[in-house]
């Protein structure tokens, strides 16, 4: 693909990249939305002291925080960043059980932002 495309003007290649990114961004949101059930399950067992559940939630929040902004989903990135910060905080690391209501709120905010972003891409 590189050989075929390298003769194209830069603006044309940039426009094609933008277009491709919109498609990839849509797939990214589909993938994110499909993961919420697993994250709700992880949250449900957090109270048992399941370290893998906390790790799964942290990885999920981190991935969405870093990746969604690349596609321009800034509200989703911010919500995931807030959840990531909460999960990394002393409050959660010290006593996950007491933080479950806050984590649930954070996860719900991420889901709402993902759904809003998905609605936005669907209406393009």
């Amino acid at each position: 693909m590189q050989d075929k495309d390298s003769h194209k003007p830069e603006y044309q290649r940039s426009a094609e990249l933008q277009s491709q990114m919109e498609k990839i961004g849509g797939r990214f949101l589909d993938r994110v939305l499909a993961e919420f059930d697993a994250m709700e399950s992880a949250l449900a067992v957090l109270g048992t002291g399941d370290a893998a559940a906390l790790s799964a939630l942290e990885m999920f929040a981190h991935r969405i925080h870093g990746s969604s902004a690349i596609f321009g989903f800034s509200a989703l990135s911010e919500a995931a960043g807030a959840l990531e910060a909460l999960l990394a905080s002393g409050q959660v690391q010290g006593s996950p059980v007491n933080a479950i209501p806050d984590i649930a709120l954070g996860l719900a905010a991420v889901r709402a932002a993902a759904q809003a972003a998905h609605a936005g891409t669907a209406s393009r």
């Binding site: 830069e10 940039s14 990249l17 993938r31 981190h62 991935r63 925080h65 990746s67 690349i70």
Partner: protein
Amino acid sequence: MPTRTAQGGGNLSRRPLQSVLYVDDEPDIREVVELSLALAADLKVESCGSGEQALKVLPILRPDMVLLDVMMPGLDGPGTLARMKADPLLAAVPVVFLTAKALPAEIRRFLALGAVAIIPKPFDALKLAEQVQTIWNGLSDAG
């Protein structure tokens, strides 16, 4: 946020950047990076989804540079870099971290581990190829 680079080190050749391996567990981001780097003519881009896979393909691909995600399941970016540094065949391959963990203390830690630069996420897909090329040129200038 600008790219952070280490002073000196890395591959000191002055030839053009020809090949890059990108390592990230997120398939959508791998696709974006491949497309972004394809904006640079004559740059061959390969990607894989884990540190373990990277260590398997690196001796075969022998890329000029490796771009590593930091937080991955299994062997993470810093762990992959440590294994590369312990392998005489791979120790000199310049490694750049792409990460959302780009706070100053973390950047210092990554550079101390041997990374030549850190590109913060989110990156601008339209400028990534230029950023990578600039890092490569900086390594060459250092030589």
